[in-house]
Symmetry: C2
Subunit: 406 residues, 2 copies
């Protein structure tokens, strides 16, 4: 029998305990051994909870118990979670986590400790919740040169964008609804400003390149600037608006990463990823596009991925199976030098001025522009990000909105 | 350095050699060791081929060469492929294959030999081509009770159905085009009658249940009975027609498996899997639906999956990582007892007679029936397969077509 400890008895932690209890037979069959939760670490008491007798408050009990070979870190944040994870790995105990913040910030060091101690630091649940994505990159697409990773990695913003699109609703109204439903935090910044998606694409990019990626250096633009008029234009053009986290591995080895709203055509596999669902497209040089889609958040889906990591640790005791990435830093391309097309929205009265700024006087039909209500919307030619920003600055308040094209 | 042999230098075999050569650096990094093709077994010579000096004609050279630890079986069929695979595994050499026919027919025995000899029999490429699906079931969804597997597993038929839908084309014309493009075999029976999809769902179901599934016992209905009128009705109803391979693990432990055309709503994740693409939805009791989508066939995508298996064997020498399934047979539910709804098409003149046969005299509005051209199409209530067939027999030629609803 394998005894494990769960750190943090919140949503995901209690989910892990529930999955292991409810799917006991399946877990036993998969792991080849029974897996039992011995300790649950939390500051709180849980009177009446079926597992209340497992609850303890002192991490050293877990650290010093030689029976505990696997620890689930479902606390979140980087404070004590970092200390506990580091100490557990140094003691040769494998750690499975859903904590993307910690993986993005200290993953390099924690992976290296795990390798030194012949144990594992696994984090399938940190990206895409219950969708298998970390393990497919590490063990399935191993013969592929992965050229790009494009994902809808944040369920909260995807829910908001879907509602804005289908119900022609205003951003602030939908955010309020999402908060009421528990899909968005009271302080929604990490989600709506794209920081959560930024951490996740940092983790995926590090896995794909084998190098450390600093999430804080990723260019990140959230969804707060998207308004319902954008969806009307997108729909006219047969497109959807999605917050994408995207990294491209360039031929010179540099990586180009960003998080931003994009217009994507209906034919793109990510265009049908709606509501709180997540989706990731990996593009390989042999395989082309492969999509992974499912529940990117939620108690039981996320917990199921943590439990699968526990099973993998149980099957591979004394053996490091996750290489992850090394200490070398991925070289990031200058985001301002990237070239792409943009959708631009402006007042109808400024249509010819704004279109000409991008297309020149005689070419504005090429912009596929359309008038809707009091506005004009069109696509720019391929242009460098920095040139685009410069032109927008020159045009000033004439430009009412801009969204990248995929 | 790890030396491997490739059996069969056809489409997939030459693809494996190409992937390993072109993605050499990535393969080395993933495997931790260089992987080199030492032998290519084929009956033919390949003068001028860059690998012509590796081509041999006698399998015993491979079998008796202690340097060869991994063999790729890309011959297809069950004849010599079975003998060679068995002998290689008995000699402790791991075998990686794209041969779904052999896996479906002799997988149980071959997996057992691999386990006895502490080597591996891996077959990621046998289902869904380059899409990771075998490994996610075996190593990622290990804490899930998988309740159903639903897939578009045959690219040829999916291409034909997509063309029939988008171009309002006739089945025979599209089949001819698919044959000209090389998407369909000259003898298309294995694809269009659903046998290929049947083997693949047998493999996935065996993995999910841990028990042997006899592909030949699976109820299989192909696409030859679908005509363009069906698509007109489907489109009116906001539905698509797809050849699905589906297994459901019932609460009594029996499995209910079939291959048949289904009408599926546009909101279903498989509805946007078009052309030669494949998609598989796994439904777990914690995770809900997860979709895997990508290129289900083609030289390089399939070869990439075989090469990933080779890398997994290289990483895990002397260690069986694929449990697969045991010799116990999965108990199959009687397909005739399954209950579901159907779409029925009949001559407009027979509308009330046919609708009443399923709905009774006063309830026919519940059928959501519509008249189009000279025909009437409607949905039946939930009905047992055998009762449905009985009613259709009674109605005789009045019923011009019937398709299951998902």
């Amino acid at each position: 029998m394998i005894k494990i400890a769960v750190l943090g008895y919140g949503t995901v932690g209690s989910g892990v305990v529930e999955v292991i209890a409810r799917n006991q037979a399946r877990v036993l069959e998969s792991a080849g051994e029974e897996i039992a939760v011995k300790y649950i670490l939390d500051l709180r008491e849980f009177p009446g909870d079926p597992f209340e007798d497992k609850v303890i408050h002192d991490f050293s009990t877990i650290l010093n118990d030689a029976e505990i070979s696997i620890v689930c870190e479902t606390m979140g944040g980087v404070g004590p979670a970092y200390q506990f994870t580091k100490q557990a790995l140094e003691a040769g105990k494998s750690v499975c986590t859903s904590n993307k913040e910690l993986v993005a910030k200290h993953g390099t060091e924690l992976l290296s400790i795990a390798a030194d101690r012949h144990c594992n630091y696994l984090f399938e649940a940190s990206v895409g919740g219950g969708i298998p994505i970390i393990r497919p990159i590490s063990t399935s697409l191993t013969a592929e040169q992965i050229e790009s990773v494009t994902g809808i990695l944040n369920g909260t913003t995807n829910y908001i964008l879907t509602k804005m699109e289908t119900e022609h609703a205003d951003y602030h109204d939908v955010l309020k609804l999402a908060q009421e439903l528990g899909y968005a935090e009271r302080n929604p910044e990490a989600d709506v400003e794209g920081h959560d998606a930024g951490r996740k694409i940092a983790i995926l990019t590090a896995l794909v390149t084998g190098r450390e990626v600093d999430a804080e250096k990723i260019y990140t633009e959230g969804i707060t600037g998207i308004c319902s008029a954008d969806f009307v234009f997108a729909s006219e053009k047969g497109m959807k608006i999605k917050l994408l986290a995207r990294s491209r591995i360039r031929e010179d080895g540099k990586i180009s990463v960003l998080v931003a709203p994009f217009m994507i055509p209906l034919e793109h596999p990510l265009s049908s990823v709606d509501d709180v669902f997540n989706g990731v497209v990996l593009t390989g040089n042999m395989l082309g596009d492969t999509l992974f889609y499912g529940r990117g958040a939620g108690k039981l889906p996320t917990a199921s991925a943590v439990a699968a990591d526990v099973i993998d640790c149980a099957r591979n005791q004394g053996r490091t199976i996750m290489r992850g990435w090394g200490p070398e830093k991925a070289e990031m391309a200058d985001a301002a030098e990237e070239e792409r097309r943009f959708f631009v929205r402006c007042a109808a009265s400024a249509a010819s001025q704004v279109a000409e700024a991008f297309w020149g006087k005689d070419n504005t039909e090429a912009s596929e522009g359309i008038f809707l209500a009091e506005e004009f919307g069109f696509f720019t030619p391929v242009i460098r990000e920095k040139d685009f920003r410069e032109k927008c600055r020159e045009l000033g308040e004439c430009v009412s909105g801009a969204i990248r094209l995929l």
